[in-house]
Symmetry: C2
Subunit: 269 residues, 2 copies
């Protein structure tokens, strides 16, 4: 059985999941966190479901070997196509994806109005968000738009300025036309474009950050299972990547606004 | 020993190398071509040299097994960091990268003026183009700029319009300031942005397409070795990928302006 002192595992194909780590650390600063960026297989968003499933299960097994008490799949593509494979790989450790929490929050605040989703091509193609929203609000209309330029813009640090605004103007007009007032940011990179996205859309449009919602749900899960750590000290954070620790450290500084030291290189195969 | 009837192998991490295939097919329509897109490991441009070397050697061995008479490494990152590993893996089959031919052509036309290079972050970080240019023109000044948004723009089919112009305006001003009149397109995706790039720069700037130069050099190599195919019929083209044949076919249509049928899925490990 797990103990409250065990760490929480969080993984993504790269640095994007750090927005989820940040949300988790903000809510539960005492928890120890182990992050894995599967940078050797990055990006999951342009790979086949089969390839994503294989890579995700390998990372999940590695983290399970570190004695984690819960696993957060901080990658929308992986949450969309590989969640049941991951659950099988690490049972009985509880596994949380980012899609369910985001969809649940959106269904709640949309109150019957249309729900928008912005995500990578792979996540949109999977249909996972519309499915998850409709589980809660069967009559909801869900409008999804793939935004392939958003990730490279974020990774270049272009969170504002003409190129970011140009990309918003390319991808988002449909949401205005269809009077979408609830938009799910269905990729862990996108919270960094929140202000550009928000400024383009109508005032009062609610942006749902799947990472924030996942942190909330994770906390509830830990409390329910008696696994929430009560310590007052700040928890340890450890970082692993499957390739190129230098590039990861650079991106981590951008994503977290501070350095993470050197990530440990580890191949999951 | 190889025969003139043997096919030519061409590989890239994805669909970008199709611009090289196109150039080769235009110069030598009778040749049989086998293309490999290592889409399971795409993009090489953000991976470590070690990872790129391993993946490249595996693909090269696969193509060598198909009885090719020559191998074109139609990927700048791989040409920059893995060429000697690839040569070792498939010896004695002759191997041509895209960097040497591009650098040679640039050194020739620049006549002592500065040479510009646009490429992915990995290719720029490798320093391969400056090194190759200086081999021919030791006193040449080489100015390199990484353009991470160009590949996703091309893959989205955004070869013109405000976003492509915006990206050009972000990356290219330095070449204007420094009066660069010879610019190497150091990534196989970039020829598709030729007109946007050309329009941004001063009139009379020469854009060197590494793929075109590689096709020229390949032809010379085959003639020298008595391996040029003399047939009049159009050669066969076969396409392999290591992941997601559907996405590859879509991109191939964009890159070649026509369909390539279904690519065969094959994992190189």
């Amino acid at each position: 059985m797990s103990s409250p002192r065990a760490p929480i595992g969080i993984f993504d194909s790269g640095a994007g999941g750090l927005t989820v780590l940040k949300a988790v650390a903000r809510r539960m600063p005492a928890e120890d966190l182990i992050y894995f960026g599967d940078t050797a297989n990055l990006p999951y968003g342009s790979k086949s479901p089969r390839a994503v499933r294989r890579a995700s299960a390998a990372v999940a097994r590695f983290l399970a070997g570190k004695g984690i008490k819960a696993l957060v799949v901080a990658c929308n593509t992986s949450s969309a196509v590989a969640l049941s494979d991951i659950r099988r790989a690490v049972a009985p450790i509880p596994v949380l994806g980012v899609i369910e929490p985001g969809a649940r929050a959106a269904a709640k605040v949309a109150c019957g109005g249309p729900v928008g989703v912005v995500a990578t091509s792979a996540t949109v193609a999977s249909g996972a968000y519309p499915r998850a929203v409709k589980m809660r609000a069967p009559r909801a209309r869900v409008i999804s738009v793939a935004c392939p330029l958003f990730v490279p813009l974020v990774e270049e640090g272009l969170w504002s300025g003409p190129l970011a605004r140009g990309a918003a103007a390319r991808y988002l007009p449909r949401f205005k036309r269809e009077r979408v007032k609830t938009l799910i940011l269905g990729c862990t990179h996108y919270p960094l474009l929140k202000s550009v996205i928000g400024r383009f859309l109508d005032r009062g449009t609610r942006l749902i950050d799947s990472g924030e919602e996942t942190a909330l749900e994770l906390e509830a899960l830990l409390i329910r299972r008696g696994l929430r750590r009560a310590a007052r000290a700040r928890g340890r954070r450890r970082f692993y990547v499957s390739d190129d620790p230098e590039r990861f450290s650079l991106l981590a500084r951008r994503f977290l606004g501070r350095g993470v030291g050197r990530a440990v290189l580890h191949a999951c195969e």
